[in-house]
């Protein structure tokens, strides 16, 4: 994965990169959780999965300035 992680400019572009490449495992886990309940989604139904995704994103954003 590190080869795809290059220094991109805007914060949103970096968020885009990290959410799809760097943290793809956690992103997929969160997506699958939503898919399992998507006919009856309520607030925070996938809170734990998102928390793991969010932690990964935050660390990735901090690491690559």
């Amino acid at each position: 994965m590190s080869s795809t992680v290059t220094a991109t400019k805007t914060p949103l572009a970096r968020l885009a990169l990290h959410s799809t490449a760097t943290c793809s495992v956690q992103a997929t886990a969160y997506g699958k959780c939503i898919l399992a309940t998507y006919t009856d989604v309520t607030k925070d139904v996938c809170k734990e999965e998102f928390a793991r995704f969010s932690v990964c994103l935050r660390e990735a954003m901090r690491r690559k300035q």
């Binding site: 968020l15 959410s19 997506g31 989604v41 309520t42 998102f50 995704f53 969010s54």
Partner: protein, 316 residues
């Protein structure tokens, strides 16, 4: 008694309520104009022409099916003239391009057009303030009517502006356009924030178009639907391109930007819900094509009821 009634009536109608006077406003036309001006000035503006070029091409196929030559064609909401560029001098001598975004209108030089072009920067919603009634041979509109607030009124104006037996050919986004993005954003907002806000325009349905065209007084209607499906690497690329096309959100009302968390959540949901095997995510653009003619006595008319001579049962 009468006086008090009159006063009551006067009082009750005094504060003009924007929701009851005139057509319902859905889109902020000013925001849309600014978005499209900015999009046209962007460096990569031409690289995101792919949807418009494809639709203009398919619209031209329908135009070529009409065996008639025109002196002037009015291209309503032309943008930078994707449809007009495909016009051949044998079919039309001149095109008048009307668009509210001046930058989009003047993006491409005259040398890219085969026919003579005239550009008018004006609001498509006020067509009859730009052209005289009964003055146009043909009006075309390629992917602009989906940002019009008053679609029924605009269609009526188009019919009014046409000469008898004049042609209207239009294409607009509608139906299930961007349903993947809409559902991904809604699920993300619902799960993260507990509620949803409009980020994708409400879309016109195909059956509504047939009704609206009929109501606007067009005859010999043809309405059909077609899809353009584009694969993107991820949701971010799609949103980037939509912005670059000038197709960003312009829904009227108190707007709040999407939170980063919600965006990240939506980008995770999108591929799981709609993704393809090769890892790309699809975006559907559904296009409604409409053809209508201004009524004229020379047009073929349906027969009177009950004048049929052959029983339908014999034919079937």
């Amino acid at each position: 008694m009468l006086r008090s009634l009159a006063r009551f009536a006067a009082v009750s109608s005094a504060p003009p309520n924007p929701n009851t006077l005139g057509p319902f406003q859905v889109f902020d036309r000013n925001v849309k104009r600014i978005q499209r001006d900015r999009a046209a000035l962007r460096e990569g503006s031409r690289t995101v022409d792919y949807v418009r070029e494809e639709v203009a091409d398919r619209m031209m196929e329908r135009f070529m099916d009409i065996k008639r030559t025109f002196g002037t064609v009015l291209d309503l909401g032309s943008g930078s003239g994707h449809f007009t560029k495909l016009l051949e001098p044998e079919r039309a001598k001149k095109s008048v391009m009307i668009d509210s975004s001046e930058k989009a209108l003047h993006r491409d030089p005259d040398s890219e057009f085969e026919v003579q072009v005239e550009r008018i920067c004006a609001d498509e919603e006020n067509l009859l303030q730009i052209v005289e009634p009964n003055s146009q041979e043909a009006i075309v509109s390629c992917l602009s009517l989906h940002w019009v607030n008053d679609l029924p009124g605009t269609l009526v104006q188009i019919r009014e502006a046409l000469k008898p037996d004049g042609l209207f050919l239009g294409a607009m986004f509608g139906g299930d356009t961007l349903f993947e993005l809409r559902t991904a954003l809604q699920l993300a907002e619902l799960e993260r924030e507990g509620g949803i806000a409009p980020h994708i325009s409400p879309m016109t349905q195909t059956r509504d178009i047939s009704n609206l065209m009929g109501r606007a007084g067009f005859s010999l209607l043809t309405v059909d639907v077609d899809e353009v499906k584009v694969a993107y690497p991820d949701m971010w690329a799609l949103m980037d391109d939509l912005g670059a096309m000038g197709e960003g959100n312009a829904i009227l009302g108190p707007r709040r930007a999407l939170r980063r968390d919600t965006l990240a959540a939506a980008s995770a949901i999108y591929p799981v819900l709609h993704g393809q095997e090769d890892g790309s995510v699809p975006a559907t653009f559904q296009i409604i094509y409409m053809i209508g003619w201004k009524p004229a006595p020379t047009q073929p008319q349906p027969l009177e009821r009950g004048t049929g001579k052959v029983p339908l049962g014999d034919v079937l």
